[in-house]
Amino acid sequence: MQYDSKRFVERDRNWHPPAYAPGYKTSVARSPQQALVSMQKPTVSELSGPDFRQLRMGPHDNDLLLNFRQDQNQGLPQGERIIMFGRVVDQFGKPVPHTLVEMWQANAGGRYRHRNDSYLAPLDPSFGGVGRTLTDEQGWYRFRTIKPGPYPWPNDPNSWRPSHIHVSVMGPSISTRLITQMYFEGDPLIPLCPIVHTLKDPEAVETMIGRLDMARSKPMDCLAYRFDLVVRGELQTYFENQ
């Protein structure tokens, strides 16, 4: 069977945030207390995963400046126009082609298009805040959007989320599935954020920071932020397990 020799680099649970991270208060009642049950030999059920090349996407699914407009006459969203782009690679630097990358975010004022978000900042009638795309042959993806605003949330008496975009990537298997958040280089709210602080290793925080890329920005149009995503690497095995 083809999956007998397939294996991914072990997920480093000390690198990712722990389930129980009391500084992020909601995690306290939502974190398992029992140990995870480790599979030494994941099966085809864990090693395989969906391929979305046949998912039919709309022409503006990756363009948040246009994908919530009801008609041509409606204005563009408020806010700083940006390109968010990057490459999905595995831990060995191998590009991950044709994989689904999805994202969602608040508008320029820090308000989400969600019925439970009651922040003072108004909704933007021209902005939905959701995008999706597939990586190309070399693993590149690209979105056009506006930079989301920071917003307050009830954790500590005065907690604010840094500007961020939620990013979801599938990778080649359900074992590589990852949801993260992209923060913006230089944002002074990053080191103050309880959700960022769920990570123990400052190096891990660096993997979530989108970098200003002037070369990819468009003069008189928009800035660009590069955000590469690294998913678990598939190990090559050369020997039969006998």
């Binding site: 974190s31 046949q54 690679v89 969600h114 439970n116 939620h166 958040q181």
Partner: protein, 210 residues
Amino acid sequence: MNQPNSRPTSELMLRETASQTAGPYVHIGLALAAAGNPTRDEEIWNEMARPEAEGEHIEVVGTVIDGNGDLVRDAFIEAWQANSNGEYQPEFDLEKPFNSFGRTATTFDHGSEWSLTTVKPGPVAHASGQSQAPHINLAIFARGINIQLQTRLYFDDEAEANASCPVLSRIESPTRRQTLIARREEVDGKVRYRLDIRLQGEGETVFFDF
């Protein structure tokens, strides 16, 4: 390999991008219907099997419950399962009668149940030669969950297959194995399996690392 925001773990290998919670508004990004927002032409959602799909048609439902015993109303769940012959169908295509991949969510509606419309998976091959009992892999994402929780759903009318499943028997505590077994119900002549996912405390669901 020199990339702006990636970190080498050794000369040969990069570190995985770190996980962050999907947050309270995950539905607007990945479950647009559950958020009550306009949907696109094609969405990845909870009808994994259309009526013409081969196999026993079932509904799978449940709640997600936190350590206080309260409903988690903002969870997002991904499902991955074999078809009725025990084979995975990786090519996601809404034109096909069955897809191995589906998504669902709990909501702020009354019962706050997630649900999947699917067919009962067949037994799945295993390297040991002993097949795995029919199961659905589930991944749970939500506010307060920093990295997805991975579990499996099994079926209570597969007692024999469950008893010999090489993965289920990896769980040392027989009591805890029961946390993965969905109960069969028949509602209006339709077959439904129910599994409540308990994130913490009494009856805590088994979650896997793989």
